[in-house]
Amino acid sequence: MPRDPKKKPITVDQKRYSEIVRDLAPKPLYLKNALLAFVTGGLVCMIGQFFTDLYRITLNISPKEAGNPAVATMIFIGALLTGLGIFDKLARYAGAGLAVPVTGFANSVVSSALEFKREGLIFGVGGKMFLLAGSVITFGVVTAFFIGLIYALFIL
């Protein structure tokens, strides 16, 4: 039988099966998940607000300046919960409620560093730390660069 080197198009069979699977596959509990994310995400932000106020009042600084230590504190909490093995268990329920706030950023950094610890400090912890968080930084910086450029060239 001669080999057909052409890339095969999607067959009717594949299309039909994919559609059946898409229709029949169990769906996430949309409402419950969204509510849990809402409540946990809201609570995380309230805790963040508490630390912002705490630093603002005790250090007598502006709310904007107090944001920095508050973010660092939240990152510390996210890191600690990850190290203790609690974060992933909470996130099973909270979903985006823990992932979207800065706690999720901390978790992605810490879990990667922790996971690859066995490969040593250079290849493992150092090299793999931004395995997941890297794309956030990359896209954030690329966005900010072009917006900054537009400002510098056209608006200022």
Binding site: F38, T40, G41, F76, A96, G97, A99
Partner: protein, 120 residues
Amino acid sequence: MIEFQTYLYAFLVGGAICALGQLILDFTTLTTGHVLSGFTVAGGILGGLGVYDKLIKFAGAGATMPISSFGNALVQGAISEAQRNGIIGVLTGMFELTSTGITAAIIFGFLTAVVFDPKG
């Protein structure tokens, strides 16, 4: 002085941003990585339009805690430094406001990896 209203707005706005992320995760095949990157970009654009800082004034930590704030802070850093130093400021100011978050993540990430073992 603590304004208790801010806590309510922080809860509502922060919760809404997270719920939006959850809905994207559940209704699409996008992963958490896609959503977080997307939110960062969205935060950056809103920051460029000057909307995000208004949201922070209104909701406090409800707007500063979600990852979209990271995008906004990058943009604010780049813009404000550009105002002072022109186009070079885009490069030098980029991490001006976000260095706390990145530094904290690296330091705590490193220390956690040294102290703890993955639980599996």
